[in-house]
């Protein structure tokens, strides 16, 4: 037994020591914890940690296999995301105890705070006293046992799992109902209580999902396919797109869901031109070797930064929205190009990890597929707040794609229309964000950068919170960004354009005296190296390609990503469809595209008179439309449009 006195050492040092003890199989006693946060975070060894007093936030969070005993109370997020192992708390636990657990046993002898067991997937959360409101909020599985009263709105928006209540049941949450408890369930509960030496002779009422909210009542059928390029064409009111939209809604009686991105005309990089008359490189000239393009992203707080051979990354896209083969191909292409790939929501597969040398692991509010082991093998951790295609909304994955395998990785019931939570259980403000980031850093020994993905809404405010939160970089996604499934109107009308987003972000940082102190990776409708250079000129540190890489890898832009029957095997989980996709071939196609981007960035940088992408600046740009000039404050020079066109004719 090793004793660690928190009145002498910091939690960070203590956690290093605890992990070392774990490797040696030695149990740990924590003295004078005094409700400090993050005790034991990231531990993955089967040892016992005794906390001799009260623990603060996220005690035993992001752990697997370890056993914790907390003598007194525990703060927010007890046992956060715990896989196997156990926590026993002698006193009370605060809000979101057992949040996102995936199999752990959590025993709270006293009362527990609100939203206990939020988005839990498997395991047991036990409360000897009373629960507070919204116990089992959005739970996907596992069981909650409450000996006392349930509190109000128990089982709010639960998808699956059981909540057993010994005392009074307050108001039931939306989508919850009371049902009978089978005798084998009672036996299993008794066995659990015996194991933790809990005496209880009373009965239980069981709260489960009442069948509501798991699937949309009507599924959206594909009526006829309009290719995106005609779908988004200039139009009057009553065009085929509007007609199809009205007709479909008349059949399904609700808002529509589709894949791809917004199709409205918005101010974009095509409304910006280069101010100088560009001197194009000689035929066969090796511009790539002449221009400094390597950039490191995310090292500002001492973590190992992403090392990019050019200021380009792959935008986050989930294994789920797109197939395993596609994720593999993109991963391989990212490795070939020397850039970084991103998991998106829904976990990290071995195939993906092996394919991509640098892989950012994304954490969403539903904590689907999020776990300590993959955190430790990631090159970056990213907190998804929202995305450009649907800022403020959670992800959607329609039932067709929620296969048995996908459901197992994410820890959710098979075949539901998955609507991921739009917010994190434990990030309800900037102060919470700080404590959450600290948890990630504690769990991974401060070695990997922690970033945030922001969909462009109130970016001027959000970027300040990101900066003050101490993040290592920001991925900023404008409304031209795409998605695998989203509300059609949301995609068209919610958010601000990508060029507006970068300007708002830079202005926000400037306002708090932090210009240049937070790296920004811009994405959302960036389609080539020319757009990339414009973005870099405006002030982005790097750009990310999402849809572009899909198209480079064979996407035909039919916008039916949400259906799951992707004809080219990208946006599907159906093995037959996926078989049409050849990851190695597509990896090379995507890679060739990325090398084209590299050449364009180099050639343009050189043509603008610079030898490093870091020298690109606003002075190199003009706006071609009054709207874009107003958004960007670039000089309005419509004359450059004709000059550009004639240049392009020459080049063509």
């Amino acid at each position: 037994m090793v004793q660690i006195d928190l009145s002498d050492v910091s939690v960070r040092e203590a956690n290093e020591l605890i992990r070392k003890c774990g490797e040696q199989g030695e149990d740990v006693d924590i003295l004078n914890p005094d409700a400090r946060h993050h005790i034991g975070v990231g531990l993955t060894s089967p040892i016992t940690v005794n906390v001799r007093g009260s623990a603060g936030y996220f005690c035993a969070g992001l752990t697997d296999a370890a056993h914790f005993k907390v003598e007194s109370n525990a703060g927010w997020g007890l046992g956060d995301n715990m896989y196997t192992g156990s926590v026993v708390v002698g006193g009370n636990a605060s809000a979101i105890a057992g949040v996102a657990i995936r199999g752990a046993e959590i025993v709270i002898r006293g009362n527990m705070g609100s939203r206990a067991g939020q988005v839990m997937k498997a395991g047991t959360l036990f409360c000897g006293g009373n629960a507070n409101f919204m116990a089992g909020y959005m739970m996907y599985g596992g069981r909650i046992i409450i000996l006392g009263d349930s509190g109000e709105r128990v089982g709010e928006d639960m998808s699956a799992g059981e909540i057993y209540v010994g005392g009074k049941i307050g108001a039931l949450g939306a989508a919850a109902e009371i049902t009978d408890t089978a005798s084998d369930e009672i036996d299993s509960i008794r066995e659990f209580l015996d194991r933790y030496e809990i005496t209880y002779t009373g009965g239980f009422q069981k709260v489960v999902n009442n069948g509501a909210n798991l699937r949309y009542a009507a599924s959206e059928t594909q009526i006829r396919s309009i290719p995106f390029f005609s779908f988004s064409g200039k139009s009057d009111y009553w065009n085929p797109k509007v007609q199809e939209d009205i007709y479909t809604k008349s059949q399904i009686g609700r808002y529509r869901i589709r894949g791809y991105g917004g199709a409205r005309q918005l101010p974009h990089f095509s409304d910006i031109a280069f101010r100088k008359d560009l001197v194009m490189p000689e035929a066969g000239e090796d511009v790539v070797s002449k221009v400094e393009m390597r950039i490191q992203i995310g090292g500002k707080h001492g973590a190992k930064p992403l090392d990019l051979s050019m200021p380009v990354m792959i935008a986050p896209m989930s294994f789920g929205a797109i197939s395993r083969s596609t994720k593999m191909a993109i991963g391989m292409a990212s490795t070939l190009a020397g850039i970084a790939e991103n998991t998106g929501e829904g976990g990290m597969s071995d195939a993906q990890r092996e394919a991509a040398t640098q892989l950012v692991f994304q954490c969403l509010g539903g904590r689907l597929g999020w776990n300590i082991h993959d955190m430790k093998r990631a090159n970056g951790l990213e907190i998804y707040i929202s995305q450009g295609a649907k800022p403020g909304f959670g992800g959607q994955l329609m039932a067709n794609k929620v296969t048995k395998e996908l459901a197992a990785i994410r820890g959710i019931p098979e075949g539901i229309d998955l609507r991921s939570p739009s917010r994190h259980p434990d990030i309800l403000g900037g102060d919470d964000l700080l404590i959450k980031i600290e948890e990630f850093r504690e769990a991974t020994g401060y070695k990997v950068p922690v970033s945030v993905k922001l969909g462009a809404g109130r970016i001027r405010d959000d970027i300040k919170i990101a900066y003050k939160g101490g993040l290592d970089f920001v991925e900023l996604d404008g409304m031209q960004g795409s998605t695998g499934a989203g509300g059609s109107e949301v995609m068209e009308y919610v958010g601000i354009p990508t060029v507006a987003a970068i300007i708002a972000a830079l202005d926000g940082l400037e306002e708090i005296g932090a210009a240049g102190e937070l790296q920004i990776v811009l994405m959302g409708g960036i389609k080539d190296g020319v757009d990339a250079v414009k973005a870099l000129c405006l002030g982005a540190d790097a750009v990310a390609y999402g849809t572009t890489t899909l198209i480079a890898g064979g996407c035909i832009a039919c916008m039916q990503c949400h259906i799951g029957n992707c004809p080219v095997g990208i946006a599907t989980q159906d093995p037959e469809h996926e078989a049409r996709y050849h990851p190695k071939v597509e990896a090379h196609n995507i890679h060739r595209f990325l090398e084209g981007v590299r050449w364009q960035i180099a050639a343009l940088t050189q043509a603008l008179g610079h030898d490093s992408v870091k020298d690109l600046c606003r002075d190199d740009l003009v706006a071609l439309t009054p709207e874009t000039a107003a958004i960007t404050n670039l000089p309005y020079e419509p004359g450059y449009r004709t000059r550009n066109e004639s240049l392009q004719r020459k080049a063509g």
């Binding site: 409700a35 007093g53 009260s54 603060g56 809000a95 403000g429 102060d431 404590i435």
Partner: protein, 306 residues
């Protein structure tokens, strides 16, 4: 974007180490808000006198402000008994027996570059950029003896780090009412316009000031603090946990969604409330406390004489 703390010693005496207790509690949750720190301190009640504290800044501009403040005090028949420049503030003890609200608004307009931080018979607000210990170094908060007080640490996310954006907030126009608040009032403008139509003035765009004025107005109408807290939960939209204090009472209110943390500890001698247990534990190092987490939509008050 912040952490809050409050403490009240129950025996009614004003010789408790209130300053030290609040410094410890705020240092304990400084991670929630490293940018600025503030204290609302309640000491011995002055008889027939008011304590005013102005934020004046430093240098020649501050000197000009002090001259203007002094002449404004004189023109409102407030006689200076004692005054002092501390840090970036100017503090004056004055005799005054007119209408406090008019006087307070007049003081707000006394000098263009100065702001009133607090007015009261026992209240004194001290707030500045930096951590609890930084502010203590400038204002000797640790010397303060009193009966109760509130504290606040702020993470400045929407505006620059400035002393005037620090909390606690005084209920502009009402003596001895202070508030610390963690959260966001989403019907801020609607509530503010309602109060403005009734003649109340606001010094900032900060929603915490609104909560303070909202409660103070109710109390001025004879509503008990407890009842004012009750209606605040109905009238204010958003996510919030706040603490309020008057000359004799301290209380909390928590929104219906309980999205902002709050923990309290009570024994025979004191009641202490904070965003996180780690702050409460600073008062009793090495001891596990029997704490309580207030339920959603709840409120409670404590009085120093009971």
């Amino acid at each position: 974007m912040c952490g809050i703390a409050g403490i009240m010693f129950k025996n009614g005496r004003t010789d408790h180490e209130t300053g030290v207790a609040l410094i410890d509690m705020l240092d304990g949750c400084q991670h929630r808000g490293p940018d600025s720190t503030g204290f609302a301190l309640y000491g011995e009640e002055l008889e027939n006198e008011l304590r005013l504290r102005f934020l004046v800044g430093e240098g020649a501009e501050a000197d000009d402000s002090v001259v203007l403040i002094k002449s404004a005090l004189e023109s409102h028949n407030a006689e200076i008994v004692e005054d002092e420049r501390v840090g970036n503030t100017y503090q004056a003890l004055v005799t005054f027996d007119g209408d406090l609200r008019d006087f307070a608004y007049a003081m707000e307009h006394a000098a263009p570059d100065a702001k009133v931080i607090s007015i009261g018979q026992s209240l004194d607000i001290i707030k500045d950029v930096g951590g609890a210990h930084d502010v203590d170094d400038r204002f000797n908060v640790h010397d303060f003896k009193g009966s109760h007080g509130l504290g606040h640490v702020r993470l400045a996310t929407e505006s620059d780090v400035r002393p005037e954006s620090a909390h606690p907030f005084w209920a502009t126009g009402f003596s001895d009412v202070a508030i610390v608040h963690n959260g966001q009032i989403t019907n801020y403008w609607k509530m503010r316009r309602r109060l403005e139509q009734r003649g109340f003035e606001f010094r900032t765009d900060n929603d915490s000031e609104l909560v303070a004025v909202y409660l103070a107005e109710k109390m001025a109408d004879g509503v008990a603090l407890r009842d004012a807290l009750k209606t605040s939960i109905e009238d204010l939209d958003g996510t919030f946990s706040f603490l309020v204090s008057t000359k004799d009472e301290i209380g909390y209110a928590k929104d219906n969604l309980a999205a902002k943390p709050m923990v309290l500890y009570e024994n025979d001698d004191l009641i202490a409330i904070a965003s996180e247990e780690v702050s409460l534990n600073r008062l009793f190092p090495g001891h596990a406390l029997n704490t309580k987490e207030p339920t959603p939509g709840s409120y409670q008050t404590w009085s120093k004489s009971t």
